[in-house]
């Protein structure tokens, strides 16, 4: 399994725990990652103010990825929807390809509609590519504790082009967690959004939303939460102290992990090699740092 990797902004500039754990875990599972050669915004947040800015930024990443001829591994949910949607749009509308390629000329890039990029998210690599049976063979320390899955919206929706899992009843993340010896189950708040898209405008409401979900997860008997998106992880993990202050409640305190950090732990990787000392939530309740 050889992939080109596109990290995007959040992972590469602040959510280092995701990058560190992917770089540590994937090669052990037989995945070879090669770098894109540069990093730039996928355009997704800017779609809200100017959709053409988004289409340009996303298309240039697709065009660069085409040069490598390998599937493109995109660990961020936002970048994943951004690139999938841009490619969907380009493949459907020739005039969009022409517009994009006119701009890309100056950068010596070109999107080729005859060579669409296969875009893969972390959950797809673990579940569909490596596969659960193979993953199980690497488990030396089954986790044992109970983990709530938080998929993040943008790998499940919209429904008009293929996404990572079913929009209303996804199962892949649970299957991965069970394969690494964690306990998990469905819960009513499972598909609720972390609100990251509104952080720009409604930071306090977003914090309360996250606090509400963390509280529910804890009350339902889970020991931890797993995410696969840097925006969700930042909201639930890095902002947990702020959430506690806003909600004036310690009932929101819960260890929050990247899925790849949990996979690494089950494989017996030393916690700091998975960036677990960078998590802000109390992961030390479950892991010896």
């Amino acid at each position: 399994m050889k992939y080109t990797v596109f990290w995007g902004c959040m992972i590469a500039t602040v959510e280092y725990g995701y990058e560190i754990s992917v770089r540590e875990v994937f090669p052990r599972l037989g995945v070879e990652l090669s770098e894109l050669g540069w990093n730039a915004c996928c355009g997704y947040p800017l779609m809200q103010v100017n959709s053409k800015v988004w289409l340009y930024l996303a298309s240039r990443i697709l065009a660069e990825a085409q040069r490598f001829g390998r599937p493109l591994f995109v660990p961020c949910n936002g970048c994943h929807i951004s690139l999938c949607e841009a490619q969907h749009l380009l493949m459907e509308r020739d005039e969009m390809i022409n517009w994009v390629n006119e701009l890309l000329k100056d950068e010596e890039l070109r999107f080729d509609s005859g060579n669409p990029v296969r875009i893969l998210h972390t959950i797809e690599v673990l579940h569909d590519e490596i596969g659960l049976e193979k993953l199980k063979k690497f488990v030396v320390k089954p986790l044992g504790f109970k983990v709530a899955c938080h998929y993040g919206c943008h790998i499940l929706r919209p429904t008009d082009y293929p996404r990572v899992d079913d929009a209303e009843s996804p199962t892949k993340m649970e299957a991965i967690l069970e394969a690494i010896g964690a306990k998990t189950s469905d819960y009513p708040e499972r598909l609720e959004c972390c609100g990251a898209g509104a952080n720009v405008v409604e930071p306090e409401l977003v914090a309360r939303l996250c606090g509400w979900k963390l509280k529910a997860v804890k009350a339902r008997g889970f020991n931890a939460m797993a995410t696969s998106c840097p925006a969700c992880q930042m909201n639930y993990d890095a902002k947990q102290d702020a959430i506690m202050q806003i909600m004036k409640s310690s009932e929101v305190s819960l260890p929050v992990f990247y899925l790849t950090q949990l996979v690494g732990l089950a494989m017996g990787v030393e916690p700091r090699r998975l960036g677990l000392d960078l998590n802000k939530s109390p992961v030390e309740d479950l892991v010896d740092l």
Binding site: V14, Y16, N39, N50, K52, Y56, D106, A198, L205, L278
Partner: protein, 168 residues
């Protein structure tokens, strides 16, 4: 707030930009709003659809930027009315028409022009209260696009309504 005489022209443009969507088929079952996490902030998807149908753009402006674009409403609508896409189209239209977007978007856009990413790599604190960076964590430099000048020029061309174009 939009001036009344501007509303009609904008409404026409909005109708054009969502022509491939079908907000007119909404029968207000409010399934979208019942699952929306931003209703509290004044963003009520089924109301937005109805206000659009009634042509009351000024009323939609309230709460418009609170939508977090989780796309749940789009996925769950039994009529495929696509409230989230309508919100996206209206945001784009208002910005193109000269409305200032929330500041955070401008900060991100200006950073992308400057650094290619929405922010530069940050130092973060670990559990030992040490500040660490990509470098101290042993993470490689990821680099910027090879031709930053062409990259910037393209962005300024596309977003000329938002970015000042430098005259040479």
């Amino acid at each position: 707030m939009l001036k009344l005489n501007e509303t009609d022209r904008l409404l026409e443009k909005l109708r054009e930009s969502v022509a491939t969507l079908t907000p007119s088929v909404c029968y207000s079952c409010a399934r979208c709003s019942s699952g929306c996490v931003m209703v509290e902030a004044g963003c009520v998807p089924h109301s937005i659809i109805q206000l659009f149908r009634l042509g009351l753009l000024n009323e939609i402006e309230r709460g418009l930027w609170s939508c977090c674009q989780c796309l749940k409403c789009d996925a769950r609508c039994p009529q495929e009315a696509r409230p989230a896409m309508l919100i996206l189209a209206l945001r784009n239209l208002l910005v193109a028409h000269g409305s200032a977007p929330p500041k955070g978007y401008m900060v991100m856009l200006e950073n992308v022009v400057r650094y290619a990413t929405i922010q530069q790599p940050q130092e973060v604190m670990n559990k030992d209260f040490d500040f660490v960076s990509r470098n101290t964590l042993g993470l490689p430099e990821l680099g910027k696009p090879a031709n930053m000048e062409a990259f910037r020029l393209n962005l300024k061309k596309i977003a000329s309504n938002l970015l000042e174009v430098e005259e040479k």
